[in-house]
């Protein structure tokens, strides 16, 4: 019949998009504001200024509750913190909020110090209070956690996902796949520099975002969220998001036992779902093998290289092939024509080599 329908939704979207972009701006401003507060705090602690506008309190440990939505899930290093507390005392106050209707103060930042204090059977802990804002609390906690260096790459990946999911209703793996598809697209278009430019060159941000060629709202949302949190989409896509695909036991390994990400990714190959081993091994068998290898690697504190070797041997054994003694000559390194590489390719190469060097040093 071909009756022509008028699309009213589009007219409404034109109106609301304006509002949405404003909201984003406020969110970004909020992030900057928080970053400033954090810097101020650090500054104050460094100079140990006495008349700080944040007053430090001694708060009884049994008046404190942990945040159930705390993004950092691994506390295997609480023991180290305990030792630090023992030798140095508590140098940095933790940060608490007073949520109306709760009879305890909730930890905004400092759960590890809190746990260590409990271990030491202390009675009180030093703490700052910051105002509680129900609208931004969860996001603020995520951002603070992301800004800590000790957060592991897996928790970092999950925090980033949570923040992205505030504006997109996508599953974690869908987000990861979209980002990696976009990066391959840029690579094919020889535009990867645009993405690093967007992440690093604030002045020319407008230019890059206009010309990079986002193919849809989702791609731009994912990249910009990651960049706004001070991360590089390229590195997140290659270092953080792949960890989302790890089996649960390996995630536990990273969180509870400090298993190295690289090793975890290798161990993840031993699975009934992996390309190599599909149909050759059951999931329960592969779980057992992974766990045996994991305890061996952790107990013997194997280097990444030795661990990977061990894992590869095990895979070959499952496949029923003997490992050939490696006979690589690396002659292909000579074949790389450095003059012909783009800036981005040089950067990539450099970071790969640095990686190799650090593995070799281990």
């Amino acid at each position: 019949m071909g009756r022509k329908k008028v699309d009213y939704l589009e007219s409404f979207s034109n109106v609301t998009s304006l509002k949405k972009s404003k909201e984003l701006e406020t969110a970004r401003a909020r992030i900057e504001e928080l970053e400033k507060i954090r810097q101020q705090l650090e500054e104050q602690l460094k100079n140990s200024v006495t008349e700080s506008f944040f007053e430090v309190h001694d708060v009884s440990l049994d008046k404190i509750e942990v945040n159930p939505n705390q993004p950092r899930k691994s506390f295997f290093d609480v023991v180290e913190m305990r030792n630090l507390l023992l030798t140095q005392g508590q140098r940095q106050p933790i940060i608490l909020v007073n949520i109306p209707g709760h009879d305890k103060y909730m930890i905004f930042d400092g759960e590890r110090r809190y746990r260590a204090s409990i271990m030491l059977e202390l009675k009180t802990i030093k703490a700052f209070f910051i105002p509680y804002n129900p609208d931004t609390f969860d996001l603020d906690v995520l951002i603070t956690a992301l800004n800590r260096k000790e957060i592991n790459a897996l928790d970092e990946a999950e925090s980033l996902i949570k923040i992205i999911q505030r504006s997109l209703t996508l599953k974690p793996l869908e987000i990861a796949n979209k980002l990696s598809a976009f990066i391959s697209f840029l690579r094919r278009q020889k535009k990867l520099e645009y993405l690093s430019g967007l992440a690093t060159d604030f002045e020319k941000r407008e230019f890059y975002s206009q010309n990079i060629g986002f193919r849809n709202e989702e791609e731009s949302r994912i990249c910009l969220d990651i960049i706004d949190l001070g991360r590089s989409p390229i590195s997140v896509s290659s270092n953080n998001f792949p960890l989302l695909k790890l089996t649960e036991d390996l995630k536990i390994g990273i969180r509870e036992y400090g298993l190295n990400d690289n090793i975890a990714m290798s161990l993840n190959l031993i699975s009934s779902n992996s390309k190599k081993l599909q149909g050759k091994i059951s999931e329960s068998d592969s779980l057992k093998i992974r766990q045996d290898l994991m305890s061996e690697i952790i107990e013997q504190k194997l280097s990444i290289r030795s661990a990977k070797k061990l894992i590869n041997q095990r895979i070959s054994k499952i496949l029923g092939v003997e490992t050939q003694p490696s006979n690589q000559t690396f002659s292909y390194l000579d074949r790389i024509n450095i003059d012909k590489l783009s800036d981005q390719e040089r950067m990539d190469l450099l970071s790969k080599l640095e990686n190799l060097v650090s593995i070799l040093k281990n």
Binding site: Y8, S11, K19
Partner: protein, 286 residues
């Protein structure tokens, strides 16, 4: 006591909607005030009101000290549970002129309603359909606004314009704007393919502007008839099905055959919330 207004172009059925909401709320034991801000004074006709001394202009008067003097609405049935304040064309035109010359004139109503609190549990503001000081006053004085539209291209484009104005307020002037309670289609005629096309798009539009879609109020000549008699449909034809457009969720769509529903999704459209029921819940349970 939430303040609620309805918005969009003239003739979409705002006044009909609000008078029927007032009736429904009052019969649900909620004391309700209906304040008219439209100089056309249509309440006089559709509520069957006598002339009154006290009119809306008095509220805006600088001598006003909270001495509201409203008329009872359909008193023999509602027993004073609902009251109405009508306009007088000439005096309201004067008021509008005066407000327009004051820089923050459109905030006056908000201020007065805050300073001299009405005792009612629900306050409905019946504003005119076109842009102007009175519709803006109503908007800024309200906690909620019902986007009261008709499923016609003109009304849809007016609705776009309205949403733009609303968002603009927030952005340009940083004043608090009412929450859009939801979209109600008035005078809905399911036989019209144009109306159905629009009905089909409304869930997405509602989501886009951050609100929900209510079950529509059907087009029925009985609404025209009772409007002229000055009574609500409930009193004119107590058994009429359209009454349930106010109190039964998804009423218009509920028992339609699949053939008649056409491409509308039964599960979704058959359970759209009823506007009046929702408002009663808001008043009673917050």
């Amino acid at each position: 006591m939430p303040v609620i207004t309805a918005f969009c172009s003239s003739g979409t059925g705002k006044t009909t909607l609000l008078t029927h909401l007032a009736y429904y709320a009052a019969t649900n034991n909620i004391s309700t005030a209906l304040i008219e801000l439209d100089n056309r004074n249509s309440l006089k006709r559709c509520c069957g009101l006598p002339n009154s001394e006290f009119t809306t202009s008095n509220i805006f008067d600088s001598a006003f000290k909270g001495n509201y003097d409203f008329l009872p609405l359909w008193e023999s049935h509602l027993k004073g549970k609902a009251e109405v304040c009508q306009t007088n064309r000439e005096s309201l035109l004067e008021t509008e002129k005066l407000l327009a010359t004051k820089p923050l004139g459109i905030l006056k109503l908000k201020k007065v309603l805050k300073k001299y609190k009405l005792p009612h549990q629900l306050i409905l503001l019946d504003a005119p359909g076109q842009e102007g000081v009175m519709s803006e006053s109503a908007l800024l004085a309200s906690d909620y606004v019902i986007l009261s539209i008709e499923a016609t291209p003109k009304a849809m484009m007016d609705a776009v314009r309205f949403v733009q104005i609303l968002f603009n307020y927030e952005e340009e002037y940083d004043v608090a704007i009412p929450e859009i309670l939801g979209i109600v289609v008035g005078r809905y005629n399911h036989e019209s393919s144009k109306a159905r096309d629009i009905m089909e798009q409304l869930p997405d539009i509602a989501e886009e502007i951050g609100t929900i879609l209510f079950s529509p109020i059907r087009h029925s000549n009985e609404f025209l008839n009772c409007y002229d008699l000055g009574i609500p449909l409930h009193l004119y034809r107590s058994g009429h099905n359209a009454i349930h457009d106010f109190d039964i969720d998804g009423n218009v769509f509920k028992d339609m055959s699949d053939k008649k529903l056409r491409s509308l999704d039964r599960k979704f459209y058959g359970s759209l919330p009823a506007i009046a029921k929702t408002i009663v819940q808001i008043v009673k349970h917050g």
